[in-house]
C-alpha cells in the first residue's frame, strides 16, 4: 500500500515538474487522477510494459485525454519508456503529444483528446474481448465535466445492452472543469453535478462510490467490483479534488491548465516531498 502511495506522489511530482519545465500542460486533472492511475497501473491491471501490444493485456483508455501528462508519468514510472523522455512532453516531434496519440507512443491503447469519445472505444474493446472469449478487462478514466457530452450516455446505454461486465468506467469526479458555472464556491466556479452514481445506476450499471484519494479504498473497490459475478458494466465514482496534493491548487479551477511560477513550483514540490 505504501508503494502505491509513493507511486501516486511520484506521478504528482512528475506532472508538476514536466508542466513547469515545458511551460505547457494541464495540472489539476492529472493531480486528481494520480491515485487512480497508481492503483490501476501498479496493482489492478494485468499488463506487460516490456510487451505493450500483448494481446491479453488489460486495456486503459484516458477518455479525459487532456490529463495525458498524468498518464505519461505513470507509464514512464511503470517502465514503458525512459523517464527522461518526459522532458519532451508537448514539444514538436515528441511521442508525448498534448493529447494521447496511440500511433506515436507504445502503451497507449487509444488516441483521445476530444471529450466523450474514449468511453465509446472502451465499449468496443470490451465487446472485442467478449467476441474473442478473452479475459482482459477494459478500464476507462472519464471526467465528470466530460460527462456533459451526450456520447458518454450513448455508450453507457450500449454497454448495458450488451452486458459488458468486463468494462470498468472510473469517473474522476473532481467537481471542476475548465470554466464551468458560476457558484458560491470559494473560487466562484463549479461543475454542478452531484448525482453521478444515480445516473450510472439508472443506466443499469453496477455502481460503487469511493474516495478517489484513499488508495486502499480504491484498490478494494476496484478488486471487488471487477470480481462481481453480474454481467453489468461497472462504474466507480471516484470523489476527488482537482489539484489534489498541492494546497494552493486544490479545488481551484484556475489550475485546470496553468504553469507554476518558480516560487509556486518550489512550494508545490516541497509539499509533495512530504508524502
Amino acid at each position: 500500500m505504501d508503494q502505491l502511495i509513493m507511486h501516486a506522489a511520484g506521478i504528482r511530482k512528475g506532472v508538476i515538474e514536466t508542466v513547469y519545465q515545458q511551460k505547457q500542460g494541464h495540472v489539476g486533472g492529472p493531480l486528481s487522477a494520480a491515485d487512480i492511475l497508481s492503483v490501476l497501473y501498479f496493482d489492478i491491471m494485468t499488463i506487460k510494459p516490456e510487451d505493450p501490444d500483448w494481446p491479453e493485456r488489460d486495456r486503459f483508455v484516458l477518455s479525459k485525454g487532456h490529463s495525458a501528462i498524468g498518464l505519461y508519468v505513470t507509464l514512464a514510472l511503470r517502465g514503458y519508456f525512459p523517464y527522461a523522455e518526459l522532458a519532451t512532453f508537448d514539444a514538436l516531434h515528441s511521442r508525448l503529444q498534448a493529447h494521447p496519440d496511440m500511433t506515436k507512443l507504445p502503451g497507449l491503447d487509444m488516441s483521445t483528446g476530444s471529450l466523450g469519445q474514449g468511453i465509446s472505444s472502451g465499449v468496443g474493446m470490451a465487446l472485442a474481448a467478449k467476441r474473442q472469449n478473452k479475459a482482459y478487462k477494459t478500464y476507462v478514466l472519464l471526467g465528470d465535466g466530460e460527462s456533459q457530452e451526450g456520447q458518454v450516455w450513448e455508450a453507457a446505454r450500449v454497454a448495458e445492452r450488451y452486458q459488458l461486465g468486463n468494462l470498468v468506467v472510473i469517473v474522476d469526479a473532481n467537481n471542476l472543469q475548465q470554466y464551468g458555472w458560476q457558484s458560491d464556491d470559494k473560487n466562484g466556479r463549479d461543475t454542478p453535478d452531484s448525482n453521478h452514481g444515480a445516473k450510472w445506476k439508472a443506466f443499469g450499471w453496477n455502481v460503487s462510490e469511493v474516495d478517489g484519494h484513499d488508495i486502499s479504498a480504491l484498490k478494494e473497490t476496484l478488486q471487488h467490483i471487477t470480481s462481481a459475478p453480474d454481467g453489468k458494466p461497472k462504474a466507480v465514482i471516484a470523489h476527488t479534488v482537482k489539484g489534489k496534493g498541492v494546497s494552493f491548487m486544490e479545488g481551484n479551477f484556475k489550475w485546470h491548465s496553468n504553469v507554476p511560477t518558480d516560487e509556486e513550483f518550489e512550494h508545490a514540490m516541497s509539499e509533495l516531498e512530504e508524502v
Binding site: 494481446p55 486495456r59 483508455v61 496519440d101 496511440m102 500511433t103 491503447d109 487509444m110 488516441s111 483521445t112 483528446g113 476530444s114 466523450g116 469519445q117 474514449g118 468511453i119 465509446s120 472505444s121 472502451g122 465499449v123 468496443g124 474493446m125 470490451a126 465487446l127 472485442a128 474481448a129 467476441r131 474473442q132 477494459t138 451526450g150 456520447q151 450513448e154 455508450a155 446505454r157 450500449v158 445492452r161 450488451y162
Partner: protein, 318 residues
Amino acid sequence: MGTTASKSMRNVFGETLTELTQQDARTVALDGDLGNSTRLAFVEKENPSAFLQMGIAEQNMVGVAAGLASCGQIPWVCSFGAFISRRAYDQIVVSVDQPSLNVKLVGSYSGLLTSNTGKTHHSFEDIAMMTLLPNMVVLSPGDALEARQAMEAMQRYDGPVYLRLSRDETLDILPGSDRKFAIGKSYQLASGQNVACLSTGAMTPRVYEAVQNLQEEGVHVTHLHFPTIKPLDEQAIVAAARQHDHLITIEEHFVAHGFGGMVSRVTSRDEPVRMTRIGIEDAYSQCGKDPELLDEHGLSSDALTERLRTIYEQVSSS
C-alpha cells in the same frame, strides 16, 4: 456492351457483408438502427453473432468501431451517408482517422436518391468531408457488382475506408463478369474526341446511358468511371486532360467541393484544361420521386444527354 438491370447496391451490400462475416470471424457489422433499410439486416439474419445493434447513436457507434478495430476486429459501420458523415464527423476524425484504425464506414443512401426523404437524408457533403481526411480511402462504386468487388478490396485493405453506396437499382455498366476492381484505379467505358466525361458512383450508369444516346447520334465522347475517389487515379485524369479539349465531371454531390473539385485540383496543377462540373448546385434539395429529382437537378440520362451534347457542340465549334 449491353446494359442490363442489376440487383440493387444495398442488397448486394447486405449479401456480401454476410459472406465476409462468415469467411472471417473478426468481421462484425454495426448498425445504427437502419438495418432493414441498408440491408445490414441480412447479416443479423444469417450470422447473428456478427451483428451489433448500436441504436440511434452514430457518434458512439463510430467510437465503438474504433475500439473493436484496436483489438484486431474488422468493424463495418453502416448508416445513411448523411448521418454517418455529418453526425459523427469528429468521431471519425479523432477516433478513426487520426489513429488510422481499420474501420470500414458505409454511407448507404448517399447522394440525391434517398427514397423520397428529402433534405435531411441527402448526403451532398460526404465526398468532401471524407476525402479531406489524410488516412481515409473513399470508394464510390458504380453498380452492384462493383460494390461487391469494392467491399472485398476493403476487407483486404488495412485502414479506414468510406464506402459510398446508393439505395436503388443501377445498370450493369461495365462489360463482363471478369472485371477486377482495384483501389485507386479508374476505368474507361467509352472513347471519343474533344470531350471526356468523368463520373463516379451511381451517376456513372446515367452518364453511360447519355454517352450511348450521343453515340447513336454520331457524337463520340470519352467516358471514364472512377469507383475510387481517394486515392484518385491522377494519371488517368492527366491523360484525359492531354487528349481532350474539355473535361466534364458528373456526380451526385455538391459541385463545390466534391469529385469534380478533386479532379480540377489535379488538372490545375498538372494539365490545365477547360472543365464543366456537373452535380448538385449550391442549394439544398427537397423530397420527390427519383425521376423527378433527377430531372430537377439535370442529372437524368435524358437531361445529361442534352447537357453533354451542348458542351460537345460548343467545344467542337470553337
